[in-house]
Symmetry: C3
Subunit: 134 residues, 3 copies
Amino acid sequence: MTRRIGIRTRGQGLYEITRQVQDAVTEAGVDTGLCTLLVQHTSASLTIQENADPSAQRDLEAWLDRLVPENDPLFTHTAEGADDMPSHIKAALTATTLSIPIVGGRLGLGTWQGIYLWEHRHRGSNRNCLVHVS
Amino acid sequence: MTRRIGIRTRGQGLYEITRQVQDAVTEAGVDTGLCTLLVQHTSASLTIQENADPSAQRDLEAWLDRLVPENDPLFTHTAEGADDMPSHIKAALTATTLSIPIVGGRLGLGTWQGIYLWEHRHRGSNRNCLVHVS
Amino acid sequence: MTRRIGIRTRGQGLYEITRQVQDAVTEAGVDTGLCTLLVQHTSASLTIQENADPSAQRDLEAWLDRLVPENDPLFTHTAEGADDMPSHIKAALTATTLSIPIVGGRLGLGTWQGIYLWEHRHRGSNRNCLVHVS
């Protein structure tokens, strides 16, 4: 089963999608299996991160922002805005696809793990994530 | 179905393999499913990136090259050449495996997404990528 | 089939788990298929890296340690120790899930590839990795 999850982002940051992904697994009715995610964009990405303390997500975001600053004189791909090329780099350094085993009808995540869509552009956008359950 | 894709690289850079991967999916005759890629090397990697403007790929390559320079005094693993250890690091920071849902017999990529083999070594090489379709 | 692999780590570094993963594949009795791994933690990660020369693993570890130093004034998530936030960042920059095609009952890895659990925290811990074989 393949299903599309739409996520409306409101700017840079991590948006938790664990519930929507679990809903797709539940809908598929799979007890033991595999759930695979693909974010269909090159300026957003996926990550599995700590879901307990929002400060971890903020620090992660701030650290990556400092590692890949805008207006780097090295950049030639600038026509789509100062945040576009950093977004592609951030996407390459994190994940575009994730595969999560399903155990007893649930995503086999650890206690402190959540699945996040990571928006790298300043302005909000409608992001799509493909979910495959087998 | 598992198939091996061979890619002849001519030095550092991104080599698009979307068509070869789609050919493997078409050959498998799978309508709804999953396509998984593994690059069988530790000095090359995989990425899903923007396929429209080659400047994005060039900037990505140049940025990662600057982040992981050769001849870092920290390196002790130098017997295989100055570009070997940076290649392992670049591979660790990007992807060795990718999993892409198949929808209607096609890779479920977004409009601007292409699949690339990323060669990290200076000299060209014959690279192998395993493709599994189910 | 889903199986849990437990890894006892003794501090920061790469711990090879290729044999344990191959054992799970062998136990599943799958000839052509897919093996997917998820590390169930946000301060440890997975990587496929060179298995021949331990100096490559040491350099990789040292390089990432320097890229993501502790006690960065940017960090606000500090309650769990100075090595906690760097661990989350290192996990985000490497892999949490990996999918490896199975060919002839064996993991389809290249000759020089091994699968590693990457411990990012100073103190040892009991780490869990879910393995799904289909």
